[in-house]
């Protein structure tokens, strides 16, 4: 499959206009049985508008995602109707875990095209409380090829497991490396006000947990949660009259390698495919991995950030496990990763929380001491990378976010 020529210059032209995230918000996460899917979206919208200092009528663009609970073919306009707004631009994005960064890209393109100026990007769902067991089975099957994978009892966890086991075999990566991702992120989640799991766990705790599908123990897997989150994308000019410190989108990139795990071209094919997203985002931003202050890397499983770190060029091939084991991903170390706890410890809302945590870090507001958490601020954080992956590392979208306007030529 040929790779399209990346038009880095065009992406830079768009982002040089000054496309910013100005306003973020997240609800409580976890088990919220009293909340419906659209109510959760409205909750995050309210929190985010308050953060931005805007009213609903100020929003002229709406980008939503999808719901596992509420079936609608027109998700964004269904929510517009629910909340009582008439956006001039609307879109629903559905590329699994890659959705959130793609929502930001969609908003940026709408703004660049003059279709909207203030775009609300909101995603949420009552996945934990609202989904039936048959719904969970349907979700598992969704990740499989219905004819040539599903009959063998593949689960989503096992699909990632297939790739992870081969990765560990090829690079001689120990089980401890996966557990170190979980242990590291548990230290971060302990400081995040709305993390579902606030206890700190050790490598031994993770390795002593029950097996789900090799090489994953229970704690290696992401959570299932109710909750929602939102962010507002607008121009730097418009953001001048808004409350928060603007966070610039300075790099965007996508990468694809396969849909079904049977079709993936090996560990390196997947690493290159998803890696393209982060490499291109950094190329557009005109930065290198050494410039990054914080990394909010999609973590559907403990293995997931390892291959992304390598694909993005932050670590060499097969070296991410040792890098995490050495403590480089911890707060206070080389490149703090998933400073909110991630999908493994905070909550699962695709990459929404990764984007919001990156924005809060760059705003200097990642200290939750006054709301029941702790200080997880990376001192003087100016540059962040974040990404999301859909399917079994099938499709990836990445953003580079900066506290400063884009400088790349």
């Amino acid at each position: 499959m040929s790779e399209a020529t990346p038009d880095v210059a065009e992406a830079r032209r768009m982002l040089k206009k000054g496309i910013v995230i100005a306003g973020v918000g997240e609800t409580e996460q976890g088990k919220l049985p009293g909340k419906g899917s659209f109510e959760l979206l409205a909750d995050a919208t309210k929190i985010t508008l308050d953060d931005a200092g805007l009213e609903l009528k100020d929003v002229d663009g709406l980008v939503t995602a999808f719901s596992f609970v509420e079936s609608t073919l027109m998700h964004s306009t269904t929510f517009a109707d629910y909340v009582g707004m008439a956006p001039g631009y609307f879109a629903s994005i559905a590329v699994g875990g890659a959705t959130a960064p793609l929502m930001a890209v969609q908003a940026a393109m709408a703004i660049d095209a003059g279709l909207a100026e203030v775009v609300l990007c909101v995603r949420g769902d009552n996945t934990r409380s609202g989904i039936s067991s048959s719904g969970m089975i349907a979700m598992a099957r969704e990740m499989s090829h219905g004819a040539f994978e599903a009959p063998y009892g593949l689960t989503t966890i096992g699909g990632y497991g297939l790739l992870a086991q081969r990765y560990m075999y090829e690079h001689d990566v120990p089980q401890e490396a996966l557990a170190a991702v979980v242990a590291t992120q548990s230290e971060h989640a302990a400081l995040k006000w709305n993390a579902m799991l606030r206890d700190v766990v050790t490598i031994e705790d993770v390795m002593n947990d029950r097996w789900i599908a090799t090489p994953f123990h229970g704690m290696d897997c992401s959570l299932v949660s109710d909750g929602s989150a939102a962010f507002i994308v607008t121009t730097a000019d418009r953001a001048k009259s808004m409350k928060p410190k603007p966070v610039y989108i300075t790099g965007i990139g996508e990468g694809y390698s396969h849909q079904y795990i049977s079709e993936a071209e090996g560990v390196d094919g997947v690493r290159q495919g998803l890696g393209r997203a982060g490499r291109r985002a950094m190329e557009v931003a005109g930065v290198t991995p050494q410039d990054l202050d914080v990394a909010e890397i999609y973590d559907s499983f403990s293995f997931t950030p390892l291959i992304a770190l390598e694909g993005f060029g932050i670590c060499g091939k097969g070296e991410a496990g040792d890098w995490v084991l050495e403590g480089n991903a911890k707060l206070g170390s080389t490149l703090p990763m998933n400073t909110h706890g991630g999908l493994i410890r905070q909550a699962h809302l695709g990459a929404m929380h990764h984007i919001i945590e990156a924005a809060l870090q760059l705003r200097g507001e990642a200290d939750d001491s006054n709301r029941g958490g702790g200080n997880h601020q990376v001192p003087d954080a100016k540059l962040a990378i974040t990404n999301g992956s859909g399917g079994i590392l099938a499709a990836t979208s990445a953003l580079v976010l900066s506290s400063e306007p884009p400088s790349a030529a």
């Binding site: 499989s144 004819a147 599903a150 009959p151 593949l154 096992g158 497991g161 086991q165 081969r166 090489p215």
Partner: protein, 147 residues
């Protein structure tokens, strides 16, 4: 028919049947592992209407059914209630000698009912060969056992 009536009902997931796969499932019923192929006879996987990337019609070739384990994951939980109480099952990707990679289960042997292999007995690179699991009258699934 008497034989069918004594056979326990198959409760595990069955394939979604689409016209593109008809030829494959016909082959399975005859205990032949047929692979879709490019016009030059090079096989690919999985069956679809056109050879991928070419927009050329699909050819079919028969596999010898031998290969090696590319990777596997021991599933302690299945995707549905039908797996409850089962011993772990092994989902694997097999590299067939003809050069395609396909998903399957590694089983101990054929009888009775193609029990899963002992997880300790599976390793990456091990040689395997196809066995034909007649799940229902319509559907035979290709599974693999140590060669």
């Amino acid at each position: 028919m008497a034989e069918e009536s004594t056979k326990p009902a198959y409760t595990k997931p069955l394939p979604d049947l689409r016209p593109e796969g008809d030829k494959f499932w016909e082959g399975m019923r005859e205990h032949k592992l047929l692979l879709p192929a490019f016009p030059d006879g090079t096989p690919f996987w999985y069956p679809r209407a056109y050879a991928p990337g070419t927009m050329e019609p699909v050819q079919w070739v028969e596999s010898k059914g031998e290969g090696e384990v590319y990777t596997y994951s021991i599933h302690y939980f299945g995707p549905s209630k039908a797996y409850k109480g089962d011993p772990p099952h092994v989902v694997a990707l097999i590299d067939l000698d003809e050069g395609v990679r396909m998903m399957t289960n590694i089983v101990k042997d054929e009888a009775p009912d193609f029990p899963s292999i002992d997880p300790e007995a599976v390793s990456i690179g091990m040689r395997v060969k196809v066995v034909f699991h007649d799940a229902t009258d319509e559907i035979t699934l290709p599974k693999f056992t140590p060669a």
